[in-house]
Symmetry: C3
Amino acid sequence: MAQTTTLKKEAAGVRVHKLSIILSKGTLDMAYPAFMLASAAAAMGTEVHVFFTFWGLSVINKKKESKLKVAPVGNPALSVPNILGVIPGMTAMTTSMMRGKIKGMKLRAIPELIHDAHEMGVHIHACSTTMDMMGVRQEDLIPEVDDIVGAATFLQLSEDGQTIFV
Amino acid sequence: MAQTTTLKKEAAGVRVHKLSIILSKGTLDMAYPAFMLASAAAAMGTEVHVFFTFWGLSVINKKKESKLKVAPVGNPALSVPNILGVIPGMTAMTTSMMRGKIKGMKLRAIPELIHDAHEMGVHIHACSTTMDMMGVRQEDLIPEVDDIVGAATFLQLSEDGQTIFV
Amino acid sequence: MAQTTTLKKEAAGVRVHKLSIILSKGTLDMAYPAFMLASAAAAMGTEVHVFFTFWGLSVINKKKESKLKVAPVGNPALSVPNILGVIPGMTAMTTSMMRGKIKGMKLRAIPELIHDAHEMGVHIHACSTTMDMMGVRQEDLIPEVDDIVGAATFLQLSEDGQTIFV
């Protein structure tokens, strides 16, 4: 009986106790869902790993993290005609509209979200291969970054859990 | 022996019996793969959850769901030069080309796909946090929406299954 | 005792031994992360499936795979003002900048990455439904493509593993 119980627990233990998020985009509108999920999962006691790669490296770049934008072109869901989207200032305007809404809702800004998520135990990993490709150096990264790892290490870290690619 | 069989079944029960899709994009070309997967999985007897967040809310917005577009700019795979992509009407033209193909293939339109998927048991969830951010109200949503939930509830619903982020 | 060990192994066997990647984008900057993950996973002995759908079909199209681009518009992380992004030649310039970096790093080009990944055992699947929609024929595909399958077959292949959508 005792043995059965132990084995049952092991089988049950395969439930999602780990969430890994690969963040490959460097826009405000993709950093938000990634960190909203990361924070919600961490609050539920889930082990969370966020792996920043390609454009996602902007999100953990000291000089860029507070300047993330929302693209008004190439995003028909935003209802901005493309011809307007390319007028200088439109990216700024769309971004500022979104920031305004976020502020109005008292949602945290991205740098604060990352800081709080990290305090809650969310692991922050930077992708070594794309750092070289994008010319990002270790000293460019925010202090919340736990380590700089390659794809193989990330795959090992994310084993046994759910992985989503943003 | 009987005990072993039971335990084996439990271990085997961890197979993908559940698929959760987070739809964060509001374009025709991303709504399609999401619902093609959702419908195929439901037809196989899989429990399916679709969680609409950020731009994805447009897909379940009564006024917007039949007007989803394909972006001709920022999408080099489409072979439309960017300079043409910003000419007013090009989003409409690209979208209409894609709709034409879809119609020619007798594929269902998005509102029909969602309706049929829902009839097949696919659960439709709207993200409460981003509804506030985007100014979407409950009465704006199509009747197929089962509930309005936060990220934590979605994470619980998607436990033990596969989750993909579109 | 022996029985317990066997059952433990079965439970442990639910670890990520399989990675499935749905590649729906046709840009250089999304094909890279997909194949970097696929190659890293294959090198670790993981069973890997890549399913090319929608714009992702360009990546396995003989005429297009060596001409994949990076979009300078609609991608604020790239720091190219939108008004510059639509000037003819800017997609080419951004793409060539990225190719230059990739070459400088001695990273493999996409056709080589796919070829090597395939040699390592990565399974290459083309999506039948979207091939029809996009007007792609079997003879347009690179020889590394193992088969042309629908969403249902892909879902079966990806069962019991992790699936990510790029």
